[in-house]
Symmetry: C3
């Protein structure tokens, strides 16, 4: 282990919750190197938590421990687990779907249930609402500091039992490739689809092509126009639209120095479909 | 000392003020372990600063130095002090009420006035508006790095002279327990009262009980309904209301996966009274 | 080098972009001491990025490496550079004007172009939109960790070729001193002008003086009234206006415990002129 521990939650940074987790980690081992992924996951959005882990973990060294606490079911019977990915990142989290993207697109090697009788902070028996501090931060810090081994976390959980949210399908034909809008590049309003660059390129699109784009919200057409496929924003004028490969190698749509999502009221989720079609 | 230093302010994170404080601390000793509690204390809200320290310090190791700068009186005659709590946490702060909750609910062991002739950064004689950087960050870093001892901070201040804000009373009868709404769990809209779990339990409430709740804003009734006392959110359906014990062991009120404060326009402060009453 | 690296961007903290940069730096050297200046630079605002560096770098130890990524021209022909200031701070950034204030008010000693053939992360050839992660974080971490020397960054860039944004002039007469509003102290709504304390004092203003203040937005008068020149906010009543010396020793205007910018709809930029005039 490299003593790196990275926290994520939907707690925000306006009160003391995140700092309490940092403190607990420092009590376990004050030589840990503590980072934050984000604490601005939309409240209760397990999907976003899952996606942000998928977007981020691969850039961190092997052995890094991630603690992700988006936990609408705190106090319920959902399991508390630590997952080890095929790249040897560890994720400490409630098993409520937060592992969806890592399981599907990266791969999990082994998952263990946190034995709360051993890894819950002492004297917390009257507090049932802050497992982030009392269970997850504490267990993550013990693991990152090698106070415990991965095996000592608790019993193994069969990989097929790990909870998954449904993800959108990618469908390719001769003339089109279709998918869904997974998430936004929030601050810039770019749409991040679930369509991999490879599927897009195999459909036959090339840099400089003008592509017909249809975005549907359920049955309703939300957008339909032609957009150029650029190498980057610099291939189009400011305020011009562009299709590009985002930083996780999926297809994305933006307005250069504008905000596509806000311009057309585009949202995210499996009912937000995007289709790229060749122009004849 | 453990070289841990934790910053709090109402500066926000949108400009360079917090980073200037981090820089000053690194100039004193670049092996300090620097953290942030929050910098989103509402502007000038000494009350919130005091509460967030109370909510957080106990989860940090002994010897941790907290630097809290919410300082509407910067440049006035208010003292600059370092307080040592009974748990050996150090708080570097203007003495303007920021120590209220720690003094009342945790306990202060000793308070010293910062000798600015010794601990103010050099060459800052024309800047009277950023004591956070020039006095508090600098003194906190010198203390956390053991460049100076606690005694070298400056002269002792009698504990009874430490400024305190007024806090709400908790009143218990046979049938009721009454208090005030201290603060919100901001992102989730839960109401955190000043009523300790012990006072609530001693009044006779048990998990699963339906409790009559009255919330008054001064003379005006803001809310009056029955809410179940649950062990955690998972005891009620999403969108259902619940009374629970929060992470500092006081009574709190929430809507599971909703926002109680926003739903009923509830605020915080001593004029926001909450009463729990037994149903016969 | 002291292993300190400080990140700044317009990415916000709501998704995984900043954490990916932190991860890349840790892959290079997990003993780096990683900080954030701010990630809330307004989108694409090179001016703000330049100003925040100017406001902050001097408080950090010599040898600190700053990575600033506000990059509307990502993928264009703008250079990627590392600048060394006369105070031996290093700034890793696109050369798009981000170095304006440091070049003008602090001084650059030497600038080098990043040789992307050597310092770009491997296997990032399909991603053209995240140079912050793939080029800047990686190069900054290599420099801060002494994996490479400053000379190994790449070829020298003539200082006169370094891009600069236009900055407002300061004009002094017998009776007045005029300048522009550079930026806001965002959270408190104070106006930070480009007028140095020295120019103001040399015009003859003294603490306690009542000063005529005119603020123009182009041709339009936005504000015209008398304000006292105070040593700090504590020299005036709450809700009273005050002229003061800000933390970078320029003249600033505030409402004590209020928000001047919001009260009078004041903005920033070279077309926002401010004039201080003696009252006879």
């Amino acid at each position: 282990m490299n003593k790196l521990i990275v926290f994520q939650s939907d707690f925000g940074l306006v009160d003391g919750a995140v700092s309490a987790m940092h403190g607990v980690a420092n009590v376990v081992d004050d030589t840990l190197k503590i980072f934050d992924l984000t604490h601005d996951i939309p409240q209760y959005s397990i999907w976003d938590a899952s996606y942000r882990l998928y977007q981020t973990t691969e850039y961190w060294p092997e052995g890094t421990v991630f603690v992700s606490v988006v936990d609408p079911g705190v106090g319920s019977s959902r399991l508390s687990v630590v997952a080890r990915t095929v790249n040897n990142h560890y994720i400490v989290t409630p098993d409520n779907g937060t592992l969806t993207h890592l399981k599907k697109y990266v791969g999990l090697k082994e998952v263990r249930e946190i034995d709360e009788s051993k890894h819950r902070r002492e004297d917390t028996e009257y507090s049932y609402t802050f497992h982030g501090r009392d269970v997850y931060a504490n267990t993550g810090a013990k693991l990152a500091s090698e106070t415990i081994s991965f095996e000592q976390v608790g019993r193994q959980v069969p990989l097929e039992d790990v909870q998954e949210l449904e993800v959108g399908e990618v469908v390719r034909t001769e003339e089109t490739v279709k998918g869904t809008i997974d998430i936004l590049d929030v601050r810039f309003g770019s749409l991040w689809t679930n369509i991999p660059r490879d599927a897009f390129v195999e459909t036959g699109f090339k840099h400089g092509d003008s592509v017909e784009v249809m975005i549907r919200n359920g049955n309703k057409m939300a957008y339909n126009n032609r957009i150029v496929y650029g190498r980057s924003f610099a291939d189009v004028y400011p305020s011009e639209q562009v299709i590009y490969v985002n930083s996780v190698y999926n297809m994305a749509i933006a307005i250069n120095q504008g905000n596509f999502a806000r311009a057309y009221n585009i949202g995210t989720g499996r009912h937000w479909e995007v289709e790229f079609r060749k122009i004849k």
